[in-house]
């Protein structure tokens, strides 16, 4: 085999800076060979090393009485009592999904599932958070169709329900779509497994699919900006095989019932490299592996290719010495490849051999702990000022408020998402108590009375206008969604999608968003237990809106008290739970964007302390069974939330009549669509009114009785009204209509 000479240029092509290359040479005391260069480059890529984000990620609260595993492992784990816990994580597959939407999204699902079942948990739910370019962008239709089919193709086949998500369309994602996928699994405390390569002499076992030349450089690809040439990187596309992953899932869970293994980790980004080095690093050990023993799909693969391949559906296991037979029997039963490829050593060095010779020899700690950490310069760009200077009084008043209201209900952002979630099996495993379509999905935990509520949220317009406030709101909104189902937020995972971190203004967005999120987490006392960072979401220098998506996990001790967002029936009273204030918030609002074509202004004020109280109140009201429904107010404000509570009911639409809670001095369009935070629209039977108001008082939540459910009109007295049936049909067809799909 001809050795490729390693030069500083080659290092640069691998995404390593001159300083980083020097550092590698000084660590090794010599020039790295090509395989070693490859290993360093993927391990020190943004994707694996978090080199630009680490200093800021430390600001998140990650501890709490329920936390069994915080960030640093493949997934975070939070206790839900009764000896059970939930393991969960969110991850991005943005770049691969732009290049090949079906396979990119599919392998994104495959990857996040492995992250969760490698911890010993059985995945029971998926969420998808999607962002595409304008609905009329020539590529959007193709991308939406491909991404949704890809998620469906993988998730449905492996049998994990996709129970919720979100989708947005904005010009800023034209060239950089976001595909973030979240998985949650349930695990018994005593079955939790971690990625540790401990015990000198223990065998290192490769299981799953054979290795091919898939996605080599996938990890570094995720850390590079897009340019014209990215279309040429195509052969690195990985193809998902959900069937094999289903076998892998069952085999791994079967294996984890035994105590034959000491550690396990999936081979995700940077494949064999990251799994082997990270497992040894956590355990403070070393390893020796022989690449000739790696099951291979293609001929003539080099050590470089074998170490960097991102072939899917593979795991690395460290078993107890002498227990190999048990591992083999299980994987052979499930028709999967299994091979002992090496063993654990005690000297802290990773030694990789092939063809009888050493092909790489690297001190583990040098690759992991000594990875570069950057505190990159950050600066608020002056262009932010102009954004906040919008003169709202100059906005034209709509000629027909009812028509404007109806138009908002049918726009892609508000419209029914059924076209998407109908393609996902959201019922399999028979746990989904609240199906997609409400603020949060609720799943039962079989064998207990408990329920898990899930929601993923981020309003990136707010984040664009003020990343600190936007980050805070993302956390508050996801918590509110979960609380509207009656659950207590107990932990979250995030996916931080940003532009190029080498630009100070992007770094400013990033750190501000994190600080805002951290502030809100503290108010809720909700820990961040896992997450993911995706930088370089830029095309030709144009970045996306900062998009820190938040997936919130909530717990209901008694799932039978769960709530949904739609009104139950005639005669129920309608209340607005609010903070004590009457300002108008239109900065970054849906109304401003959709009707006036502007993303400007100051985003709504967020008061995490109030939000936390509101959530406690909602949970308490659910527990005392005081409510018929609870719906959080978000995009489109009170008017849109009211209409949603009327038309999203599975039984068909119903009307409601309420009064305008804002003072008359405020413009009617502003009052209707103002996006004040910390509000929820509630309904209850008249006989529970007194008890409900008393409960609100206990939590210092302002409650305004606005009206009642009934009739066929959705009406805000004296301002506007909609025919419930008509509104429902424009809402229902809005998404497919905007994208030109058949409903």
């Amino acid at each position: 085999m001809r050795e490729i000479p390693v030069t500083p240029e080659l290092a640069r092509e691998h995404g390593l800076s001159a300083e980083e290359f020097e550092r590698i040479r000084s660590i090794l005391g010599r020039d790295p060979n090509i395989t070693e260069l490859g290993i360093f480059s993927v391990m020190w890529s943004e994707h694996c090393s978090y080199k630009s984000s680490r200093v800021h990620l430390r600001k998140f609260p990650t501890k709490g009485p329920r936390v069994l595993q915080g960030p640093g492992e493949n997934a975070g784990i939070v206790d839900i009592g009764d000896g059970l816990a939930v393991a969960f994580k969110m991850e991005s597959h943005n770049h691969p999904s732009y290049i090949e939407p079906y396979q990119g999204a599919a392998t994104g699902v495959g990857g996040i599932l492995r992250d969760v079942f490698t911890m010993g948990a059985r995945p029971i739910a998926l969420l998808d958070s999607l962002r595409f370019g304008r609905t009329d962008h020539p590529r959007s239709r193709y991308l939406v169709d491909g991404v949704v089919s890809g998620i469906a193709g993988y998730g449905n086949c492996i049998g994990v329900p996709t129970v919720g998500g979100e989708v947005y369309f904005d010009e800023c994602y034209d060239g950089n779509i976001l595909v973030n996928v979240f998985t949650l699994g349930v695990v018994r405390h005593d079955r939790i497994r971690r990625g540790y390569a401990s015990g000198v002499g223990n065998p290192v076992i490769y299981v799953g699919s054979k290795t091919g030349r898939d996605g080599i450089h996938g990890a570094t690809m995720a850390s590079e900006e897009f340019d014209e040439k990215s279309e040429e990187k195509r052969p690195t596309v990985q193809v998902g095989d959900p069937f094999t992953e289903k076998l892998l899932l069952e085999a791994c869970l079967e294996l984890m019932k035994t105590d034959a293994i000491v550690g396990i980790q999936d081979m995700g980004a940077a494949g064999l490299t990251s799994s082997s080095f990270e497992m040894a690093s956590r355990a403070g050990t070393g390893f020796r592996i022989d690449l000739d023993r790696v099951p291979q799909r293609e001929e003539g693969m080099t050590p470089y290719e074998l170490m960097l391949s991102e072939s899917q559906e593979r795991m690395l296991i460290v078993a107890k010495k002498g227990r190999e037979r048990e591992v083999f029997e299980i994987f052979e039963k499930w028709d999967l490849d299994v091979s002992v490829i090496g063993y654990v050593t005690g000297d802290g060095v990773g030694r990789i051999r092939m063809g009888g010779g050493n092909v790489a020899e690297i001190p583990i700690a040098a690759v992991t702990d000594e990875a570069p950490v950057y505190n990159r310069p950050s600066a608020r760009p002056e262009s932010q000022d102009a954004l906040s200077r919008l003169d709202f009084s100059a906005l034209p008043f709509p000629s027909d408020l009812s028509e404007t209201w109806k138009r908002l209900m049918g726009c892609a952002e508000m419209a029914d998402k059924r076209w998407i979630y109908r393609q996902y099996d959201h019922m399999i495993r028979t746990n989904t108590l609240v199906l997609p379509g409400s603020d949060a999905a609720v799943l039962r935990v079989k064998g207990t009375r408990k329920g898990i509520a899930l929601s993923v949220d981020c309003n990136s317009r707010y984040c664009f206008l003020d990343p600190y406030v936007g980050g805070m709101i993302a956390v508050c909104e996801s918590a509110r969604n979960v609380a509207c189902s009656g659950a207590e937020p107990i932990g979250l995972s995030d996916c931080l999608n940003f532009g190029n971190p080498e630009k100070p203004e992007i770094m400013w967005q990033f750190r501000s968003a994190i600080e805002g999120m951290a502030k809100a987490c503290e108010a809720f006392q909700v820990p961040v237990v896992s997450g993911n960072v995706s930088f370089y979401n830029e095309t030709k220098g144009k970045g996306i809106h900062p998009t820190p998506t938040v997936a919130m996990v909530g717990l209901l001790e008694d799932a039978s008290v769960r709530l949904v967002q739609w009104f139950r029936g005639e005669g129920d009273l309608v209340f607005l739970a609010d903070a004590d204030r009457s300002t108008v918030e239109l900065g970054g609002s849906l109304y401003l964007n959709e009707i006036h074509g502007k993303v400007e202004g100051i985003p709504p004020e967020s008061d995490p302390a109030h939000e936390a109280r509101l959530c406690r109140f909602l949970r308490e009201a659910a527990q005392r069974k005081l409510l018929s429904s609870a719906h959080d107010l978000a995009e489109g404000g009170l008017a849109c939330a009211l209409a949603e509570s009327c038309i999203t009911r599975p039984e068909g639409p119903i009307g409601a009549k309420i009064r305008n809670p804002f003072p008359e001095s405020i413009r009617a369009d502003f009052a209707m669509f103002s996006e004040n935070q910390g509000r929820a629209l509630l309904s209850c039977p008249p006989e529970k009114k007194a008890a409900l108001l008393a409960a609100a008082g206990e939590f210092r939540i302002k409650m305004e009785e606005l009206g009642a459910v009934g009739g066929t009109w959705i009406e805000i007295e004296g301002i506007a009204r909609l025919d419930a049936q008509e509104t429902e049909s424009s809402w229902r067809g809005g998404l497919a209509g905007a994208l030109g799909f058949e409903g």
Partner: protein
């Protein structure tokens, strides 16, 4: 109850994924003695009934159910059915029964070429099967579907035979029980959602009764199929 609960096999193929759901419904909701049976088993002799659950056996690669029909356990299913044992194939289980020739016809992709997961209504066309004996004819059930290939096809002759013998068990309909093109989610010929064999002891259906066997899941209509079957077994005796 004559003491012992009915012993029901829930077959497990590589890629089955509604196996746990069927097991849960039978065991925990209906208190039957449900057992998983691995696809390499060659006999069902000890069982009173067999369920072929939904899923993506062999990834649905090539054709749905194509590779699963070759598993050893399918030989046992054939023998079990020939001897009059009740067999119910749900979703992918239905597709396997078609591929194996235990039921006539074939499945092609939904007309929309999209996977569809949703609640639908089906009309019970006959009470003359072990699975529907407790459900009045024309009764409308609310049941979920979840499939990409549920577009039932049979040639004209086969279809005529099915209709004549009353082997069409369920058809997609609207909430009021009208069998209309609008109520047909996938393009199935004659709105067919489920059929049985000539001896009426093998049922294949695309909707998922195991997913709607408990009220808290949104509908308990599916439970009626399982209770019918268990009642039938009891009356038949061992």
């Amino acid at each position: 109850m004559t003491g012992q609960a009915m012993k029901i096999a829930v077959l497990v193929f590589p890629g089955s994924n509604c196996d746990h759901d069927a097991y849960h419904a039978l065991k925990h909701v209906l208190s039957a003695d449900a057992r998983f049976v691995w696809h390499k088993e060659g006999s069902l002799a000890e069982f009173d009934a067999a369920v072929i659950p939904g899923g993506f056996t062999y990834g649905d690669y090539l054709r749905t159910g194509a590779m699963a029909k070759l598993s050893p356990v399918m030989g046992a299913v054939r023998g079990f059915a020939d001897a009059g044992g009740p067999v119910i194939g749900i979703c992918n289980g239905f597709q396997i029964l078609l591929e194996a020739g235990l039921l006539p016809g074939a499945m092609i992709a939904n007309e929309s070429l999209k996977f569809i997961c949703d609640y639908k209504y089906i009309k019970t066309e006959t009470s003359g099967t072990p699975f529907t004996r407790g459900i009045p004819e024309n009764a409308v059930l609310r049941v979920p579907i979840a499939h990409y290939q549920g577009n039932y096809y049979a040639d004209r002759e086969t279809l005529a035979g099915l209709e004549e013998n009353g082997q069409v068990v369920f058809r997609y309909c609207d909430a009021a029980g009208n069998v209309t093109p609008d109520a047909n989610p996938n393009g199935s010929v004659g709105n067919i959602a489920g059929i049985c064999n000539a001896s009426r002891n093998v049922l294949g259906m695309m909707p998922h009764p195991e997913r709607c066997s408990e009220a808290e899941m949104g509908s308990a209509d599916g439970r009626r199929l399982f209770t019918s079957m268990i009642q039938w077994l009891k009356e038949r005796g061992r």
